[in-house]
Amino acid sequence: MEVDTAKIDSIIEKYNRDRSYMLAMFQDVQRLYRYLPKEAISYICKQLDIPFSKGYEMATFYKALSLKPRGRHTIHVCLGTACHLRGGPNILETFERELHIKTGETTEDGRFSIETVNCLGACALAPLVRVDEHDFGKTTQAVVKKIINEFTDGVKS
C-alpha cells in the first residue's frame, strides 16, 4: 500500500519529531487510514532514525493499534467486568451472528469490524457498545440489530 508521506510528515512535525510521541504518531496515522499500514511504520521509523523492528514492536504491543485494515465502522463491544456480568458476551455473540464475522474480522462489504475492549469506563451503563465515537449503553440483543441498521442505512455515516 502507498501511504501519503506528506500527511505523515505533518503528523511527525506536530510532535516535533520527538521519539517519545511515536505511539501518538501511530495513533494519528491510524485515524487517517483506520489502521496502521506497515509502510507508515517503516516511514516514521526512517524519519525518526529508529530501527523498523522497534516500530514494529510498538505497533504489535499496543492493542489500540491495528495492523489489519478495519471496516468503515468499528464496533467495540466492552467486556469489562460489569459488562461481562450484565451480558456483554451475549451482545458480542449477537453481533458476530448478525454480521456473520468473528471478533477481529471485517464484513465483506468493508462496512463493519468487530473488536472487543476491556473497559470503556461507563460501567454503570453496562453492557456498553461503542461504534466509532458513539456509545450505546444498556445494550440488548434487540438494540444490536437497531445499531447495525442505523449504521447501514447511513443515518450515522
Partner: protein, 617 residues
C-alpha cells in the same frame, strides 16, 4: 502573564457578578455515561428552546462533569434549590424539554422526572435527600457536577488555585510534612504513603525530576479517574503543580488511557487554560517556580498502569515493566527521579493544603485517612460514582447507597481491586472498607472499582474472566506471568466446560503460589488473587463444577440446559419473540418448548420470563 492572588479574586468577583445576573442555572451532566444516554441532545434542545422563548440571557445552561448517578442519566439539576431530574429525554425529548422550561419559568416541579427510590413509593426532589447522595462525603468530587470543566474561571471562582498560591508560600519540606501527617495513601490501589514517596523523590539525586499522574485506569469496572479528569481536570493539575514544587520538579506528565477521549480533550483544554492564566509555565505567582504538564495517551495496554511500564511508555517504547531493585523515585523516566501518583491522589492534594492536614486526618480510619471514590457497578440498583469516608462498611455502600441488589435477588459477592483483587462474600459485608481490611480478606482496595454480583453470577466463571483478561494483558516479559497465568486459565476454562478433574483445585493453588511469588511486576504478582479468593470463599461451587458437572448460577454453558415448566408457562410468547435464534416453539396461550439442539444458552428466555417458567438445569 504572571497572575496574582488579587487577580484570582477579581476573576471570582467578576464571575459571581455574572452568575447573579442569571435568574437560574441549569446543570446538565455531560460525563461519558450521561452523554451516551443522550445528554448532549438535552443540552442542545434546551438551549434552542430558551432562545425561542427569549430566555437565553436569564438562564444559564451548563455542561458539567459526572454527577455520579449514571444509572439514571441524563441527569439535570436546576437552580439553587437543586431540583434533580433523572433520565431526561429518554422517553420523549420534546416533552421533557418543555417540562424543564416549566420548572425554569414558574418553578413547577415535574413529578414524573424526579428521582424515585427502588421501592417506588417516594420521589425525591433534591440530591441532598436521595440516600445515594446523602451517605456520601464528596471532597475530591465536590466540584464534579457543579462546574463546567472546560471553563477555568469557574474553577477559580470556586476557590481553585488558592491552594497552589498558599503552597508556593510554604517551604517544600513543610508541604511534604503536611502530606505525610495527613495520612494520604496512594489511591491507585497500592496504598503507599504519599508523603513518604514525595520525600524520597525530593531527596533523590538529580537536577531534573518528573511528576506523573497515572490516569491509565485499566481496571475493568472502574471509572473514578475518568470522571475526575473529565469533571474537574484543574483539581488534578493544581495537585500536580503543588507536588512538583514540593518535590523539586518542573515537568509533569499525565498518562491517560486511549479509551478516554473526552478526558484527554478536557485535560488538554485545562492545561491550555492554566497556561493562559499563568498558572502553568514560568514564574508561577511570581514565586520563581516553573512548571509544565504534558499529556500522553496510552495505547490500550493494561500493563501500562504499572508504574515502570507507564514510564517506559512515556519514553516512547513498548510498555514493559522492569524489576524495581531501583525505585522509580530514584530512577524513573529517562533514568531520572520520578514521582508517580494516581489521578485521585493528586486531586486530594489541594484540599489538604486548603483545609490543613489535621482536617484530612480527621476523616477515615486509623491507618486509612480521607475519603475514597468508588465506582459502584454490577448487579446493584443504583450504579454510579460515590465518594465515601474510609471505614464505611461494604453493607452500607451496597445496601444504603446502592439500594441493594437489582431485582431483589440474593447478594453473592463483591469484587474489588480489579484483576488484582478478589471476591468478598456476604459473611464479610460488615467489614470496614480501608486499605488494610480488604487486603486481609484476600482482595485489595485497588483503584476503586466495586462490582456487585448476585446469585446469577458464577464464581468459577468470574475467575475465568479475570484469568482470560490477564492472559491477554500479560506483556510476556517474564515467564511466571506469561505461562503460569495461561496454565491457570486453561484449568479453570476446562472446569467451566465440565472437564474438570479431581486435583484441579490443588493444582490451581500451587500454580497461584508460584506465579505470585516469582512474577516481575504487580500484574503477575497479584494475578492469582481472583482465583484464590473465589476458591477460598466459594470452594463448593468449584467442587460442584468438577464433581457433579453443575453450574448452580446457570452461567457455564456446557453444564446447563434451559427448559420450560409446562404448568407455569402461560403461553405469553414473550420468550419466543426475544429468542435470538428462534428456537422456542408454541402458539399463543399454549405451553412453549425450547429446542435444546438449537438453543445457544444465552439465557434471554430465563431473564424475560415473568412467570418463572423457564428453569436452568
Amino acid at each position: 502573564m504572571n497572575i496574582s492572588l488579587e487577580q484570582l479574586d477579581s476573576i471570582t468577583a467578576r464571575y459571581t457578578e455574572k452568575m447573579a445576573g442569571y435568574g437560574k442555572v441549569v446543570r446538565i451532566c455531560c460525563g461519558t455515561g450521561c452523554v451516551s444516554s443522550g445528554a448532549l441532545n438535552v443540552y442542545e434542545g434546551l438551549k434552542k428552546a430558551l432562545i425561542e422563548k427569549g430566555l437565553s440571557d436569564s438562564v444559564l445552561v451548563k455542561q458539567t462533569g459526572c454527577h455520579g448517578l449514571c444509572e439514571r442519566g441524563p441527569i439535570v439539576v436546576l437552580g439553587e434549590e437543586e431540583i434533580l431530574y433523572q433520565s431526561v429525554g429518554k422517553r420523549n425529548i420534546e416533552d421533557d424539554i418543555s417540562a424543564l422550561l416549566n420548572t425554569i419559568t414558574d418553578d413547577t416541579i415535574v413529578e414524573r422526572m424526579l428521582y424515585q427510590g427502588e421501592d417506588k413509593t417516594k420521589r425525591y426532589i433534591s440530591p441532598k435527600d436521595i440516600p445515594f447522595y446523602a451517605g456520601q462525603n464528596r471532597i475530591v468530587l465536590s466540584l464534579n457536577g457543579i462546574i463546567d470543566a472546560e471553563d477555568i474561571e469557574e474553577y477559580i471562582s470556586q476557590g481553585g488555585y488558592r491552594a497552589l498560591y498558599k503552597a508556593l508560600l510554604m517551604e517544600p519540606e513543610e508541604i511534604i510534612d503536611w502530606i505525610e501527617k495527613s495520612g494520604l495513601r496512594g489511591r491507585g490501589g497500592g496504598g503507599f504513603p504519599t508523603g513518604t514517596k514525595w520525600r524520597s523523590c525530593r531527596a533523590a539525586h538529580g537536577d531534573v525530576k518528573y511528576v506523573v499522574a497515572n490516569g491509565d485506569e485499566g481496571d475493568p469496572g472502574a471509572f473514578m479517574d475518568r470522571s475526575l479528569m473529565e469533571g474537574n481536570p484543574h483539581g488534578v493539575i493544581e495537585g500536580m503543580i503543588i507536588g512538583g514544587y514540593a518535590i523539586g520538579s518542573n515537568q509533569g506528565f499525565i498518562y491517560v488511557r486511549d479509551e478516554y477521549p473526552l478526558a484527554v480533550s478536557r485535560l488538554l483544554k485545562a492545561i491550555e487554560g492554566a497556561k493562559e492564566y499563568g498558572l502553568l509555565g514560568k514564574n508561577i505567582f511570581d514565586s520563581g517556580f516553573d512548571f509544565d504538564i504534558k499529556v500522553f495517551r496510552g495505547g490500550g495496554a493494561f500493563v501500562c498502569g504499572e508504574s515502570t511500564a507507564l514510564m517506559s511508555s512515556i519514553e516512547g517504547k513498548s510498555g514493559e515493566p522492569r524489576a524495581k531493585y531501583i525505585h522509580t523515585v530514584e530512577k524513573g523516566i529517562w533514568e531520572r527521579p520520578t514521582n508517580l501518583n494516581n489521578v485521585e491522589t493528586w486531586a486530594c492534594v489541594p484540599h489538604i493544603i486548603n483545609k490543613g492536614w489535621e482536617w484530612f486526618a480527621s476523616i477515615g480510619t486509623s491507618h486509612s485517612k480521607g475519603t475514597k471514590v468508588f465506582s459502584l457497578v454490577g448487579k446493584v440498583k443504583n450504579t454510579g460514582l460515590i465518594e465515601v469516608p474510609m471505614g464505611i462498611t461494604l453493607r452500607e455502600i451496597i445496601y444504603d447507597l446502592g439500594g441493594g441488589i437489582q431485582g431483589d435477588k440474593q447478594f453473592k459477592a463483591v469484587q474489588t481491586g480489579g484483576p488484582s483483587g478478589g471476591c468478598i462474600p456476604e459473611a464479610y459485608l460488615e467489614m470496614p472498607v480501608d486499605f488494610d481490611s480488604l487486603t486481609k480478606l484476600g482482595s485489595m482496595m485497588g483503584s476503586g472499582g466495586m462490582i456487585v454480583m448476585d446469585e446469577r453470577n458464577c464464581m468459577v466463571d468470574v475467575a475465568r474472566y479475570f484469568l482470560k483478561f490477564l492472559v491477554e494483558e500479560s506483556c510476556g516479559k517474564c515467564t511466571p506471568c506469561r505461562e503460569g497465568v495461561r496454565r491457570m486459565y486453561e484449568i479453570v476454562d476446562r472446569i467451566c466446560h465440565g472437564e474438570g478433574k479431581k486435583g484441579d483445585i490443588q493444582h490451581l493453588e500451587e500454580l497461584a503460589h508460584a506465579v505470585s511469588l516469582s512474577s516481575l511486576c504487580g500484574l503477575g504478582q497479584s494475578a492469582p488473587n481472583p482465583v484464590l479468593s473465589t476458591i477460598k470463599y466459594f470452594r463448593d461451587e468449584y467442587t460442584l463444577h468438577i464433581e457433579e458437572k453443575k453450574c448452580p448460577a446457570g452461567v457455564c454453558k456446557a453444564l446447563i440446559r434451559f427448559s420450560i415448566l409446562p404448568d407455569k408457562c402461560t403461553g405469553c410468547m414473550r420468550c419466543k419473540a426475544e429468542c435470538p435464534v428462534q428456537c422456542i416453539k408454541g402458539e399463543k396461550k399454549e405451553v412453549h418448548e425450547i429446542d435444546s439442539d438449537r438453543c445457544i444458552k444465552c439465557g434471554t428466555c430465563y431473564d424475560v420470563c415473568r412467570f418463572d417458567a423457564v428453569i436452568i438445569e
